[in-house]
């Protein structure tokens, strides 16, 4: 399935991290709407909880503690979720047509029934997002497909009390944030992320890679080895046929005393 994306139709998030107060309403609202079970966690001496995405946690607030020059601690909050990449590694590697697919809004959605549990998407994601549930099926944020189809905002955005999570037309959101002189992350990376962040510092401070890309081995595998391999296969068949009709097989001239019936002419 070719991954075609229409920029003008793209919907997405603008996540203005400067507004986030780390209340985690987004986490809770997502669980509620998508009927996801609670995950049992342990106190690990931080307010960040849970500490990683799970099959039942599609988005979460990452707490990044940071000390300034005077040793004053401060927090950075980052809503972590599927970025709905314009060039999606998961879709590139998925061998099951329709298991991971792009909606007309440009969202990377999935169909559990078509997932064949190969887990390639887990390895191909530049952001380490997809998880597998107890049925060995892919799970991740699908931007509340069932809500936005009906013109509603995704549950997390609806619940956000500070308007950190703004949902809407991607290009409009970016235009507004650019006009407000925000530093944006994800406008062009991977053919544009569906989740664009307004950051207050370098991406690394939020645990984001500065220039996200599809993992190099995955690129080699899918975009280099695969096409060359198909070429190589037919090339070797062609070379053998060519050998047969040009130089030809190595026939043996049977010796006379052995086998009277034999003897191919050379």
């Amino acid at each position: 399935m070719t991954d075609t994306i229409k920029t003008e139709n793209r919907k997405g998030f603008l996540v203005d991290t400067s507004r986030c107060i780390g209340c985690r309403s987004c986490q809770v609202a997502c669980k509620q709407w998508n009927k996801l079970d609670a995950d049992k966690t342990k106190n690990q001496g931080t307010f960040e909880n849970p500490r990683d995405l799970t099959p039942a946690l599609y988005n979460r607030i990452k707490f990044v503690e940071k000390a300034d020059d005077k040793g004053e601690m401060s927090w950075r909050f980052l809503n972590e979720r599927c970025m709905h990449c314009g060039d999606a590694g998961c879709m590139k590697v998925c061998p099951s047509p329709g298991a991971l697919y792009r909606t007309k809004d440009g969202i990377v959605a999935y169909n559990r029934d078509k997932c064949i549990s190969c887990k390639y998407c887990v390895s191909a994601c530049p952001f380490n997002i997809p998880r597998y549930d107890q049925d060995e099926k892919v799970s991740k944020c699908h931007l509340c497909l069932d809500r936005i189809g009906g013109g509603m905002a995704p549950a997390c955005a609806k619940a956000c009390p500070t308007e950190t999570l703004k949902f809407g037309s991607r290009s409009e959101l970016i235009a507004k944030a650019t006009a407000a002189k925000k530093t944006l992350y994800g406008v062009d990376d991977l053919n544009g992320l569906g989740v664009v962040y307004a950051l207050e510092g370098p991406p690394e401070q939020y645990g984001l890679t500065a220039n996200p890309s599809i993992p190099f081995s995955i690129f080699l595998w899918k975009d280099v080895i695969k096409p060359l391999g198909i070429l190589g296969f037919w090339g070797s068949i062609g070379a053998m046929l060519l050998h047969y009709v040009t130089i030809g097989p190595k026939r043996i001239e049977e010796e006379h005393e052995e086998g009277k019936e034999a003897g191919h002419d050379q």
Binding site: V93, I116, V122, A124, P249, I252, A262
Partner: protein, 206 residues
């Protein structure tokens, strides 16, 4: 009267070889759909993708074990290359001309040795990377990513080598397939293709 034929492969070797071949082609068919969405149709041979993966895992284990055994059977014969082998490579094994090349060849020629060593190595790499791909959650992501790439690369190398192997073992060298089917080859075949080996076995028998 002396027999027109001489023994080339034991029953064990022949059974092992065909076991490797069947598992290899099972892996090929069940893996094609995973290789690219161009080949999704091959999943239908197994019902669906989930079954294809299951078959691929089972066939993978069987191929790994049998291919390692096949390699170990031949390990001394296929890993030692001598001056005659270098000459074989220099003349392209005689396959670049219609003339007889009279190369000094033992039980296996240099090309066969290279093929056996490559398949041995590829089996190891395919097996190890296959394990990482099987349970990606248990290993660091970079290992699984590298494994997916290497698994594809080794597959491509193997299938290309196997195409050449099947050609040379069948229509490319008439009389060769018998060696793997019923274990024997004609004296003329042995003298022509593997003269050093022919001397070796006929000396033993006299």
């Amino acid at each position: 009267m002396i027999s027109r034929y001489i023994e080339r492969f034991s029953t064990r070797e022949r059974v092992l070889h065909w076991f490797v071949t069947v598992t290899f082609f099972t892996l090929l068919l069940s893996g094609l759909g995973l290789y690219s969405r161009l080949f999704t149709g091959y999943f239908n041979l197994f019902g669906n993708g989930i079954n294809a993966i299951l078959v691929h895992k089972i066939a993978g284990v069987l191929f790994f074990v049998s291919s390692v055994l096949l390699f170990l059977d031949n390990r001394t014969r296929v890993t030692e290359f001598d001056e005659d082998d270098r000459e074989w490579f220099r003349q392209g094994g005689g396959y670049l001309t219609r003339e007889d090349s009279n190369l000094a060849v033992g039980k296996f020629n240099a090309g066969q040795k290279m093929f056996a060593v490559f398949i041995g190595l590829a089996t190891l790499i395919l097996g190890i990377t296959g394990m990482f791909i099987w349970a990606p959650a248990l290993f660091p992501r970079w290992i699984v990513q590298l494994s997916l790439m290497l698994h594809g690369l080794m597959f491509v190398g193997s299938i290309m080598f196997v195409v050449v192997h099947v050609y040379l073992a069948t229509i490319g060298n008439p009389g060769t397939l018998e060696a793997m089917l019923w274990g024997r080859v004609s004296r003329a075949w042995a003298k022509h293709h593997h003269p050093k080996w022919y001397k070796e076995v006929t000396r033993e028998n006299q």
